[in-house]
């Protein structure tokens, strides 16, 4: 019989993208089917088409015809679209069925499938707890209804668009499993009546479980018999959840985790481990067993299965639109006529705008530059129109136009900056002509996929932009992209522990140690990492006692690793399509409320989807905010586009390496590189950003580059022909663009082909590239030596160097942020505090502002708004001289007399101080003046010009916002801000209505100091007063001084009128206590706002540190290299970047109030410092000074102490008393360095074991160099992760990095691994 000769076709297969259900990746399943010679394979993930595109991809690779479907919950209830099933009426639950799309029908079956899935998800809301997707039978039937014979096409067979497989999990299957034969039959008849003809199939599954258990053969037999009785075809599937038997244990764990229970208590476990993708022979045997018992021919069962599979075989191109990009219709984008013509018109208009000297709008200048520009325009337009991408470019241009139109900062990043057309259309702001960027790096005739154009927008307005995009292009053409959130080490170990029923604390303890490892290498890590030593020992002792749990924990963790858990909105992907978009992708609600596609970024190209990366960048928000503050305070409108890129003051600032807060150049490693490189021009910034990547590190570009740049070594060119290519970087290959040109120069292959070759470097096909390069270069007359040298560079460069266009696109915000920091430091630092775009804690930015001499003003109920604001600070004797000692009693309450009452009575300031930010008002009371000032400010900048106009001597400062106080609700902040100005405590209570506790906290923070009567009660008095009222209010027993106070000041009655009078309540407070000392203030500030405003956190340690002889950051540069030094500070960054050697080096940066000290801990220092290296907050570090450039200095640590553990700290005479020991250490260290250098040079190969040498600590993620990674993606993901991490609670998706690998952020030290360079 021919049918049975056919290999089996699995029609129900859940992949790993069925979260918490499937255990194998689509590729594994397809490979298993292909290995067995199967010709058709379905992918039916639960609740969505999450794994479909990957399935189809894999099928195409293996020559298997794909079938697509979904495993979905169905209800008989008659729900309107979008309405959730309430308390389900009895009998409404139809269980789960498999729905397959009809194939070979031009996509109508697939469109119906998308419609069903989207409709099921319309009953959910995004995020956890959003409900489960469910479709009504009526909706399913409507979508399944296919074409019917018509007059025009009478032969059109009635074929449903969807086939519904009613199996063991359906209502029919459940009835039959419970031996309710008649109920089962009735349910099946109901299905048959409800669905269009030929849609319904019965799905018989036998997992060969023990008789009587779920999915035993008997159940399959009953299903087949029922099918025969109701005259519905029966098919056989294996309800597959894993590719091979070894997936069964993983599926068990997933079953337990899904039920949030231990394996031992789980009642929903699969009956056994037979749900794998069985080969044809095994399936035939099951068919025979079932058919035999059901008295039918096995051939009938197999034939029906085969027939259905063939009806569902999908043609990827015809049915899914595979690989064919679809962009919004021309009319929607606003194009009339031929897109290519429109693109040409708009491009030329843009070129005239961008290059007025070279193109008048009708004619190009007759200069060389003019001709070059014209050729470039024609070249790019030619490529774009030949590829048919004109509509795409116009679409992106329209998106950018729309975003700019909303006043949102927008800029292209990445290789899109290579294109002149993009520059002309205002998509990119980098001038590709001036920077020598190559179109071919972005797009060429040889690339047929849509190029990525990534767009950065202000992060704070990102969601607004998304909504605007939906509005502009229409709901049916727009959807967000999603991303898969997979198990990573911590989650995997938690869930594995849950499944094993281990106690939470024990699992937690393991999970906490795991963040630095990939779970799939857990067992490996156990052997290597010192941090896991404790766990490894427990594992060992457990084994001795016969306990197996920890071993199993490790195994199950490794099994779970990387399996998808759920999808969420991608942080930047927006999909734009034509009107057919929702027929090509199912959508579901995102946490944002907007719909998101079930496809992720890997599915975009194959599914023909145009994805725009609209990435929220905090620095763009910060820049926008800084400009806004400049305009508000000075009236000056700064147009950054008009700011020349060669401002000397800006580069001077950058060269000081005081670049905290600046985009891309604030990290410790970058500050050191900046110090060495000493940028003078915009091009230097591009080089700097491009060098700070693994590629350049690996091919040892940085040191030669620096040597040649500073003229220490002559530039070297392998061949004179390459001088024009490499001159800009002194003979060192830094950019992709240079690789392309090198290929082109030496082989004459053309730039488009060169980009193809570049992409192959580092892949398996690299040998072919090498062959091509060598033979062509040889035939063009280059010598073997030249070819060898150039190839070595190209090879080392790998595929992960840096695209200059990318570096240039990054360098623009880098320059802009540095320019703002130089010329508008207050507004810039306020913006940095407001939007927190960088890698450091906010308190470091406060310290940086203080270092820059910018007054940082504390929270004040009358002055603070809900944003960080620039505020005028009138001159005052104490300006810039923070009091070292705590003020007692008579001294001013705040660092700067910004509050009217305090300064009115204060020793200096007088009238000036009373009119902060306002024209002098000869008002009756200082309080009123203050109040007016505050109200002008409250009106959010309307009084801006007035503010600038009449300010007296003084300077700008930064006022912290109300929201800096943690624990204030949004509503409280809003009321506090709206209620300004306040004249009295009663006023605050009455109108802002903070909780009693928060009122106390405001007082503690000094935010109510402005209400204190001059010379009267102090902050401490006020806090005591409020505390007593508070405790009295709660009736919590007698307070310490409660009785007298309570009598003296009856509790305020809610709603008491606040009269426009001096604060009676506070006036009558008896001054009893002095103001808090500075150290106490700082502690309070840190507790309540995590910001030390009054003084630096380290100041309280000053006496000890001074006695010890600790060097301040600002003085480090004045020390000789190699000097012994003690430094101390607050930890601001800890990094363990991958190193060339594979060893772990820990970089710790501390801030001591005068700047950052960057320290490095090598193996010995890591051992000497122990656990505190990662855990302590305040560190004292001993080490040697390393000068690596004019302004580059760091400390190579020897050991460190935790300042919070006084008992461990050295005595003040430490430096003197350990002089001899230091000398000995230095000798030993230099010896070790020499040895290592010799070893590295291969002199001492084999002589590795040195007695007494400490074990090396391998890097946690790599353990070896090089780290191969897609740099662009990693950088992007890092930004995304950082952007996400900053946004905190408002994010609708959980913050995660999209990859387990350590992000390769190398440190310049990677090219100088010597502990102490011999000198």
């Amino acid at each position: 019989m021919t049918e049975t000769a056919e290999p089996f076709a699995h029609l129900q297969v859940a992949s790993a993208f069925s979260a918490h259900y499937g255990a194998s990746w689509p590729a594994e399943l397809v490979a298993a089917a292909a290995a067995d010679g199967q010709r058709l394979l379905a992918c039916t993930d639960r609740d969505g088409l999450y794994g479909m595109a990957k399935h189809v991809s894999a099928c195409r690779q293996h020559g298997i015809a794909p079938i697509v479907g979904v495993d979905l919950a169905v209800t008989w209830a008659d729900l309107p679209p979008g309405e959730r099933p309430g308390t389900q009426e009895p009998g409404a639950d139809a269980g789960r069925v498999v729905i397959l799309a009809r194939g070979g029908c031009g996509g109508s079956g697939y469109a119906a499938l998308c419609r069903v899935v989207s409709a099921a998800h319309a009953r959910t809301t995004g995020g956890a707890g959003g409900g489960a997707p469910v479709i009504t039978v009526a909706e399913l039937a409507a979508a399944a209804a296919g074409p019917v014979p018509t007059a025009a096409d009478p032969k059109n067979p009635p074929t449903p668009e969807l086939f519904v497989l009613v199996g063991p999990d359906s209502d029919v299957g459940r009835h039959l499993a419970r031996r309710r034969w008649n109920a089962g039959l009735q349910a099946l008849r109901r299905w048959k009546a409800a669905l269009p003809a030929r849609s319904l199939h019965v799905n018989a599954v036998s997992h060969l479980s023990a008789p009587g258990r779920r999915c035993d053969t008997g159940h399959a037999v009953k299903m087949v018999r029922a099918a025969a009785q109701v005259r519905v075809p029966a098919v056989l599937t294996n309800a597959v959840r894993y590719a091979a038997p070894d997936g069964a244990a993983t599926a068990d764990v997933l079953d337990a985790v899904r039920a949030l229970s231990a394996l031992d208590g789980a009642h929903d476990l699969q009956p056994n481990g037979q749900g794998w993708l069985k080969p044809t022979a095994a399936m035939r045997r099951i068919a025979a067993e079932v058919a035999d018992a059901a008295d039918i021919r096995p051939a009938a069962l197999l034939a029906a299965t085969q027939a259905l599979a063939e009806a569902c075989a999908v043609d990827p191109a015809e049915d899914l639109g595979w690989g064919r990009p679809r962009v919004p219709e021309a009319a929607v984008v606003g194009i009339e006529g031929d897109p290519a013509r429109v693109l040409r018109e708009r491009t030329l208009a843009g070129v005239a705008d961008r290059y007025p000297d070279l193109f008048t709008g009708t004619a190009f200048a007759a200069t060389a530059a003019g001709r070059e520009l014209e050729e470039r325009v024609e070249h790019e337009l030619g490529i774009i129109s030949r590829l048919g991408f004109s509509g795409y470019f116009l679409t992106v241009a329209e998106v950018v136009r729309m975003i700019e139109g909303r006043g949102v900062r927008v800029a292209a990043r990445g290789s899109g900056a290579s294109s002149l057309v993009n520059h002309a259309l205002r998509i990119s702001h980098v001038d590709p002509m001036a920077q020598g960027l190559l179109m071919e790096r972005f797009l060429s005739d040889d690339r047929s996929t849509l190029p990525d154009i990534d767009i950065d927008v202000e992060s704070a307005r990102r969601h607004e932009v998304y909504r605007a995009l939906f509005e502009r292009f229409g709901q049916q053409r727009t959807t967000l992209m999603s991303m898969q959130n997979a198990y990573r080490a911590r989650g995997a170990v938690r869930d594995a522990g849950l499944a094993l029923g281990m106690p939470d604390p024990e699992v937690d303890a393991v999970a906490k140690q795991l963040w630095r490892f990939s779970a799939s290498h857990f067992r490996d890590a156990l052997e290597r990492m010192p941090e896991l030593r404790g766990f490894a020992e427990r594992l060992e002792s457990g084994r001795r006692e016969g306990s197996r749990q920890l071993d199993l924990l490790v195994d199950l963790t490794e099994r779970l690793d990387r399996l998808p858990r759920h999808i969420s909105m991608h942080p930047c992907g927006v999909i734009l399509g034509d009107a057919s978009l929702l027929k090509r992708t199912p959508v579901q609600p995102s946490g944002l409320g907007l719909p998101m596609s079930q496809f992720d970024k890997h599915d975009m190209d194959p599914m023909g989807m145009l994805k725009l990366d609209v990435l929220g960048v905090r620095m763009q928000s910060a820049i926008a905010y800084a400009l806004q503050e400049v305009a508000r305070t000075t009236g000056e409108q700064v147009d950054l586009e008009q700011v020349p890129l060669d401002d000397p003051a800006t580069y001077e600032m950058i060269r000081t390496t005081h670049t905290l807060g600046c985009f891309q150049i604030e990290s410790p490693g970058q500050r050191e590189l900046i110090g060495k490189l000493a940028p003078e021009r915009f091009e230097d910034l591009i080089v700097d950003i491009s060098l700070f990547r693994p590629g350049p590190m690996q091919s040892d570009m940085v040191r030669p580059f620096l040597e040649q740049r500073h003229g220490w070594a002559p530039a070297h060119y392998p061949h004179p022909d390459l001088v024009p290519v490499l001159a800009e970087t002194h003979g060192v290959t830094v950019f992709h663009e240079q690789v392309l040109r090198t290929f082109d120069v030496m082989t004459g292959c053309g730039l488009a082909k060169a980009d193809e070759l570049r992409r192959l470097i580092g892949s398996d096909a690299e040998t072919r590239v090498e062959e091509f390069f060598r033979s062509r270069a040889l035939s063009r007359g280059y010598s073997l030596d030249v070819i060898d040298e150039v190839w070595a560079t190209l090879h080392a460069f790998g595929s992960f160097g840096f695209c200059k266009a990318h570096g240039a696109a990054f360098a623009v915000p880098t320059y802009h942020s540095a320019w703002l920091k130089t010329h508008h430091p207050e507004a810039f630092m306020a913006a940095i505090l407001e939007h927190d775009p960088g890698m450091y804690p906010a308190r470091l930015m406060i310290a940086e502002a203080r270092r820059m001499g910018i007054p940082v003003l504390p929270v004040d109920v009358n002055r603070s708004s809900d944003h960080v604001r620039v505020e005028w600070v009138p001159d005052h004797p104490e300006l810039g001289l923070p009091p070292r000692d705590g003020g007692h009693g008579g001294t001013p309450e705040t660092l700067f007399p910004t509050t009217a009452p305090a300064s009115a009575g204060g020793p200096a300031g007088g009238g000036e101080a009373a009119v902060v930010g306002e024209p002098p008002v000869p008002g009756p009371s200082a309080q009123e003046a203050s109040a007016q000032g505050a109200s002008a400010q409250g009106a959010s900048g309307q009084g801006a010009s007035a503010q600038g106009a009449s300010r007296g001597p003084g300077r700008w400062g930064i006022r912290l916002p109300m929201s800096a106080l943690s624990g204030l609700s949004e509503a409280e902040v809003r009321r506090l801000v709206d209620g300004r100005p306040y004249m009295s405590l009663a006023d605050v209570r009455d109108r802002a209505r903070p909780t009693a506790r928060n009122l106390e906290r405001l007082a503690q923070l000094g935010a109510l100091d402005c209400l204190l009567p001059p010379g009267g009660a102090s902050r401490t008095d006020l806090v005591h007063h409020l505390e007593m009222q508070h405790s009295a209010g709660y009736g919590s027993g007698p307070g310490r001084l409660a009785t007298t106070s309570r009598k003296a000041r009856p509790r305020q009655v809610d709603g008491q009128l606040s009269l426009d009078l001096p604060d009676v309540e506070l006036q009558s407070l008896t001054p009893m206590f002095p103001s808090p000392r500075n150290a106490d203030r700082v502690r309070t500030e840190l507790d309540l706002t995590a910001l030390d405003v009054t003084a630096h956190l380290m100041d309280s340690h000053a006496p000890y540190l001074e006695a010890l002889g600790v060097t301040k950051a600002e003085r480090l540069l004045s020390l000789r290299s190699q000097s012994r030094v003690l430094v101390a500070g607050v930890r601001v960054a800890t990094q363990t970047p991958p190193m060339r050697s594979g060893r772990r080096v820990v970089f710790v940066s501390v801030d001591d109030g005068t700047g950052c000290v960057d320290t490095s801990f090598f193996t010995e220092a890591q051992h000497a410092s122990g656990e505190m290296l990662f855990s302590s907050r305040l560190l004292l570090i001993e080490g040697t000074v390393r000068r690596t450039g004019a302004k580059a200095v760091s400390v190579q640590a020897v050991r460190a102490w935790d300042l919070h553990r006084p008992e461990t700290l050295p005595d003040p005479d430490y430096l003197d008393s350990t002089r001899d020991a230091w000398a000995r250490w230095l000798r030993a260290d230099r010896e070790a360095a020499r040895r290592r250098a010799a070893e590295r040079d291969g002199v001492l190969v084999g002589a590795r074991a040195h007695p007494g040498r400490l074990p090396e600590v391998p890097h946690h993620a790599t353990g070896h160099w090089p780290v191969k990674a897609d740099v662009g993606r990693v950088a992007r993901d890092l930004d995304v992760a950082l952007a996400g991490a900053r946004a905190g609670g408002e994010l609708p998706w959980p913050v995660r990095r999209s990859d387990d690998r350590a992000v390769p952020v190398p440190h310049p030290d990677t090219w100088e691994l010597l502990p102490t360079p011999d000198g």
């Binding site: 008789p211 008997g218 070894d246 069964a248 476990l269 481990g273 197996r548 071993d551 199993l552």
Partner: protein
């Protein structure tokens, strides 16, 4: 019905179906078509390891219910026994002997 485990030798046809059993030094022949199923194990309590790649036999055992009689005595009484096939080691163990005279089992409907 007794439950215990004891090593037995089973001879199988090409498709893996048992057709002869050697038990306590005697040969038994199958009298009826055997019934096979896979029975779940509490592997997380019984096993020390469950590493990736560990498949057949970890989560379930293959069980065969055999109705046998002594090969050399055509009229010997039928006996029903359950044997477990350990897929990882290939070994067979007798796990159950059903007492009394057993009726031929049909696939339990």
């Amino acid at each position: 019905m007794g439950i215990f485990t004891q090593s037995v030798a089973v001879e199988c046809a090409q498709d893996g179906t048992p057709h002869r059993l050697r038990w306590n030094g005697r040969d038994y022949a199958l009298a009826e078509r055997p019934v096979r199923w896979y029975e779940r194990r509490r592997w997380w309590a019984e096993e020390h390891r469950a590493e990736k790649g560990r498949g057949a036999g970890l989560v379930d055992h293959e069980i065969w219910r055999l109705q046998v009689r002594l090969a050399r005595a055509g009229n010997a009484p039928l006996q029903t026994v359950d044997v477990a096939h350990h897929l990882d080691s290939g070994r067979w163990r007798l796990i159950r002997i059903h007492g009394g005279v057993c009726l031929p089992l049909v696939a339990t409907a």
